[in-house]
Every structure is written in C-alpha cells, then in structure tokens.
Assembly symmetry: C2
Homo-oligomer: 219 residues x 2
C-alpha cells in the first residue's frame, strides 16, 4: 500500500489534529513509519533546523529516506492514499474529496482548531482569548455545513470512507476542547462514531494534564 | 481538454482572486464556459438561492450542465486540469503542487487576500481595519516562503507552469492592493512576469473606481 521508498519519517506533534491525520491514515494503511515528536506549541517549529525542513515552520512534515520532504497535512494524505481505497479513482469524486479538504483548511480548522489551541495551550493572560467568541461562531458555521452534507451522504470522501473523512474527523472530534459543543449536530456525532469504527482506527493521544486542566476551566 | 459534460457555468465575482483562478485556467485551456457574476462583497453569496448551490456561501462555484456542483477554487483547478499539461502526472509531483495549493489557502490567502479586501471593500469605519498590521505581517511571511522556493525552482507546480502557479499568482499579483509591497521579493516579481507571459494569460479585471480609490487612500 505504501510508497516503495519507505521508510517514512513523520515530524509531528501528537496532540495536533493536523499531525494526527497523518498518523491515522498510516495506521489504517498498515504502514511502517518513524514518528519524531516536535513540540510546535513550545517553539520547536521555529528553530533553524526545523525551518530548513519546512520554511513555513509548520508540522506535519513527511520525510522520505532519500531526504525529500512533503508538507501540508492534506497534501500528505492525498499522496499516501493514492492507489488505496481511501482515495476515489474517479476524477469528479476525488475533486469532491479535495473540495472538502480545502473546506477543512479554510473554513473549519482556522476556527475549530484555533479555539482548541487557545483554550488548551495559550497563557491565561493571552489577548488571543478575546478571539474565542468569533472563532466559536465560525466553527459552528462550519459544523452546520457538515451536518447538512451528512443529511444527504454517509461520508465526505465519496461513496466510501477515506481521506476527506480523516481530514475533517481530526479536529471535529475534539471541537468541544475549544468550547464548541457537538450536541446540536446529531448527524456529525453519528459520523464520528462511524469513523471510530473503521478498521485500524486509532484515537488522537490526549494532551498533557496541564492542558486538559486549562480546557476544563475555559470551556 | 475540458471535461465532456461541458458547458460549464462558473458562479464568481470577477475581482475575487479565488474566482479569477478559475477564469485564468479556463482561458488557458481554451474552454467554453458561462460566467454568472455574483457580488460576494454585496451579500449575494448569502441568499437562499446561492446557499442552495453552496451551503458554505462562497464563490467560486462550478456548475455542470446536469446540475452537479463543485466548490473550492483549488479543487476546481485540480479537476479542470486533470489530463492537461497544467497538472503533473507523477504522484509525488502532484502532491507537491497540492502542498503549495494548501499553503495558498492556509498561509497566504487569509492574509494577502483579506488585507486587500479590507483595504478596498470594507467601510471606512470598519473595525476590521485594525487587523491590517497583523495581516500584512503574516502576508510578508508567506511571500518570504515563496521567495525562498523561487531561489531553487522556476515554478510551484513542478518542472512546468501549472495550477499551483495559478493558485498563488491570483492574490500575489495584487498583494500591493492590501498594502503588502512586493519590492523586497525580486524572484517573485520575475515569476509573476513569467506567469503573465504564458499562452492564454488574462489579467484579473480591475475593481470598480470606488474600490480603487479606497485602495489608493489606505495603502
């Protein structure tokens, strides 16, 4: 299933949804890979060494055995899933999957992931906390679009589960960490359960206790 | 070149870079298409009719003759370019093109396009004007990443010009409308000229006089 020039190395932060996407797909493909933990929240993506790997200073990064690198979580998913049942072959259907993946990065992650980050990782006196109401409002708007789709379809990738579902699952599953309740979205809750029931599913690791305590206080 | 189930209809705002991407590619492919102007800045993407087309309330939207729709500018580019020289065949190379397209939507457009929008379209008393310094700072960070790539490569899509170049060209070419100077980026300026020299190139239409006047005042 996985590309011939494995072994792959993933540079990622385990509690980042964008990094978790890559881990989930690799696990579901049964791939062998090495994971190098990068503390993005602690500044490890801004070091000269890391910026040589990804000048945009973000995780995840996939590095091949020959030193070639690929950045951007959803581009990594697309590359890894090519030739597997997790990416449709039909051109229109793969464009629809990509459409949901661009939706995820533009209309979903910047609100739902960022609300979670501020809730769990930002300092108590961070001025970014003032953004939370706006982020939550936009996060709910994204969830409403997803809920509507799920009234008509089972998956986001196409007729079957695949990479658009992985891309959207990562931060939707932890939206409540950022104070964005999932209770108004029964179809999303059922879809989350369908994703969790897929073969090879692994959950995202829980953040450290200090982060969990902040989330519990702020939500 | 273009898909058999043409004619296509594009719902778009001519002065939006995301919509212009689709127009530029269609022109370069020599495709026939119908363009329906949608005044996104004036609220026409929030009407019930438009939301039935795209529940996420954004342009561009491509509609096929049989009523099927595709949203998200970069997913539209990918679909239209499949099977043409503007999208590489090689899996690794197309993943690199997609990586730049996700970079564009996550790290580039939300700063460079939004700074331009606030400069040209927001009301004089809009509180969003307070965001301009932060947006410009992040916009320059994205341009620095592009400049570094162009010190090593001619194009973003792969060995040849293609859809990642179109995706990045759209708002980079008008970055100065948002007060983000291109003078520090000689490689970007040369790349913009290379894009403009491609067969079938068309420029984005200029905004209306009132918008141009605001841009001139605010930058």
């Amino acid at each position: 299933m996985v590309k011939p020039d494995a072994p792959l190395t993933v540079h990622g932060m385990s509690t980042s949804g964008n990094c978790y996407k890559v881990r989930l797909l690799l696990e579901q493909l049964g791939a062998r890979y090495r994971w190098i933990e990068v503390d993005s929240a602690g500044g490890q993506t801004r070091t000269p060494q890391f910026l040589a790997l990804n000048p945009n200073g973000k995780v995840p990064v996939v590095e091949l055995g020959d030193g070639r690198v690929l950045t951007e979580s959803n581009a990594i998913l697309f590359w890894l899933a090519e030739g597997t049942p997790l990416l449709p072959v039909d051109g229109w259907q793969r464009a629809q999957a990509l459409s949901w993946m661009f939706f995820e990065q533009y209309s979903h992650e910047p609100y739902i992931a960022v609300a979670r980050f501020i809730s769990g990782w930002a300092r108590d006196d961070s001025p970014r906390r003032d953004d939370l109401p706006r982020l939550r409002e936009h996060g709910h708007a994204a969830l409403a679009v997803m809920e509507r789709h799920l009234s008509l379809a089972t998956w986001f990738t196409g007729p079957d589960y695949g990479i658009a579902d992985i891309a959207l699952f990562a931060y939707t599953a932890v939206a409540e960490d950022g104070g964005i309740a999932l209770s108004p979205y029964p179809a999303i809750q059922q879809w989350l359960q369908r994703v969790r029931a897929q073969p090879g599913f692994v959950a995202m690791p829980a953040p450290e206790a200090q982060v969990l305590a902040r989330i519990a206080t702020r939500c």
